[in-house]
């Protein structure tokens, strides 16, 4: 469903993502891990067509993000790290607005907006101004916004950040439910979340892929936390060695 080939992204001279390739099969949930600044958000932004890659290609459902962005964008629901909310709008009219942006007809919009309000637990707050919502509710509106056009692909950038334990469990169940008929990429720092929701895991470090496997294979010998720390410290050692050898042979 999602095919990333040799993706490289530079910000000026800074290399954010280096030669990253991976596939996400249909109806699966990929846990996207890495330390802060590893390039997760950048990868997701390229994937959703927010910014173009320096080189490499991203294909969603067979369509290239760069050459047919409209096709790709209408198939992706994206929840950025900071949910893109307008504080002066009310929850329901905001969701209608997003539905319109995504090209839903009036009748479809009515139906889908009600559906996501129900699904994301916004029933009591559907008339509230977004500025008055708590962090947890904003996060839910962000998720509802990504779901409103019923996209086959979901890209979620740290969706459970700032939620209380009960809300985390709710959102987690929601994501797991969605993975049954959708392709989901989920970036997170919370490792148990990956263990509980994802079937595949991709770990990157300083823009490079350091592991991509099924959850079962990664956690066969040790738990995910240990595996993550081991892989990241190995990658760190390799990159430090590289820096040293470059410094000694100028």
């Amino acid at each position: 469903m999602i095919k990333v080939e040799n993706l490289t992204k530079y910000y000026g001279d800074f290399l954010a993502v280096e030669n990253l390739s991976f596939n996400v099969p249909k109806s699966s949930i990929l846990g996207f891990l890495g330390p802060n600044g590893a390039g997760k958000t950048t990868t997701m932004r390229v994937l959703t067509g927010f910014m173009p890659a320096t080189s490499g290609a991203v294909k969603v459902d067979g369509y290239d993000v760069f050459t047919s962005p409209m096709e790709v964008k209408s198939r992706i629901g994206y929840m950025p790290e900071i949910p893109p909310l307008y504080p002066d709008m009310r929850v329901r009219s905001y969701l209608h607005f997003v539905g319109r942006l995504k090209g839903l007809s009036r009748a479809m919009r009515k139906e889908k907006v009600e559906e996501v309000i129900e699904k994301c637990g916004l029933k009591e707050k559907h008339k509230a101004l977004i500025r008055s919502l708590s962090k947890g509710y904003r996060q839910r509106v962000g998720l509802a916004q990504a779901l409103v056009h019923d996209p086959p692909v979901l890209v979620l950038d740290e969706p459970t950040i700032g939620l209380d334990p009960r809300q985390i469990i709710e959102i987690r169940d929601l994501i797991r439910g969605m993975g049954k008929n959708r392709t989901v990429i989920l970036s997170t720092h919370i490792l148990p979340e990956v263990t509980m929701t994802c079937d595949h895991v991709l770990i990157i470090h300083k823009g490079r892929k350091i592991a991509h496997d099924t959850l079962a294979a990664l956690t066969a010998k040790m738990n995910l936390e240990e595996a993550f720390l081991k892989l990241v410290s190995e990658a760190e050692a390799v990159s430090n060695a590289q820096v040293e050898s470059e410094a000694s042979n100028p």
């Binding site: 959703t48 994206y78 909310l85 002066d88």
Partner: protein
């Protein structure tokens, strides 16, 4: 098209929700009212002087156009030149600051659709302000007989002028996430275009003088306000607005590539 209207409607709604639009509208009404009042007094003096000197030929109907409607709409243009940047500054800056541009740019929309919908929203509000001044026209046409054709030409000129001002405002708003920076730089650009007109009169070389005069927005309003529609001026206004909308498109696109 539906998507353009979605953003357009959102912008219009947020205008009516923000105190700034109301302050600008109130200020606009006071200022344009003052302009009408003093221009009317001046017209009265002109007519009185003409009576006393027995110049009855001067008392033909289009005095109202020359001494009241034209100059007043010129004033309205000046007022809008200062007020419009305050209304256009948020169009792109606010999206950037709130990170909602991420929603717009990952939705199935082209950058042109986004730019056009924002531009139309700004232009709509500007035209709404211009329409308020029709109240004075109602008064004038009720108590007197101004030349309707000339008045229409004057209004057309004003609308074209604000179309340019709004395109400048949309452009500067797309450059920054700071609304103050956006509005001040829009004002500075407008003033630069205004000084071209002054400069053209004081430059020695006739070629440079003509170029400067051509670049100035005010030069092109002049013949309109006198009731004459010239294709040269029309082309100037339209290409001005297109140029800055094109630059806005480039600026939004380039922010994605950085």
């Amino acid at each position: 098209m539906n998507r353009i209207w979605a953003i357009f409607a959102k912008e219009i709604r947020s205008y009516f929700l923000s105190p700034i639009a109301y302050i600008v509208t109130a200020g606009f009404m006071v200022l344009s009212g003052l302009s009408f009042y003093f221009r009317a007094i001046y017209l009265n003096q002109v007519i009185q002087a003409a009576y006393e000197n027995g110049e009855l030929a001067v008392l033909k109907q289009n005095r109202i156009n020359h001494f009241l409607i034209g100059p007043m709409l010129g004033d309205v243009g000046l007022i809008l030149m200062f007020l419009m940047p305050v209304l256009t500054m948020r169009l792109f800056s606010e999206e950037k600051r709130q990170k909602t541009d991420e929603l717009l740019l990952t939705s199935p929309l082209t950058v042109n659709q986004i730019v056009i919908s924002k531009y139309l929203a700004g232009l709509f509000y500007a035209i709404l302000l211009v329409l308020i001044t029709l109240v004075y026209m109602v008064v004038l046409f009720h108590y007197s007989e101004p030349d309707a054709g000339m008045a229409v030409a004057s209004y057309l000129s004003l609308v074209l002028f604000v179309a340019c001002v709004v395109s400048l405002g949309v452009f500067t708003s797309s450059l920054t996430e700071n609304q103050i920076v956006a509005s001040v730089s829009c004002l500075i650009l407008e003033l630069i275009f205004a000084t071209f007109g002054v400069a053209s009169r004081s430059v020695g070389s006739p070629t440079i003088s003509r170029i400067l005069a051509y670049l100035s927005l005010q030069t092109h309003m002049k013949s309109f306000l006198d009731g004459v529609i010239m294709s040269e001026d029309l082309i100037y206004f339209v290409s001005f607005a297109f140029l800055f909308l094109f630059l806005t498109n480039r600026s939004v696109e380039s922010s994605r590539w950085r």
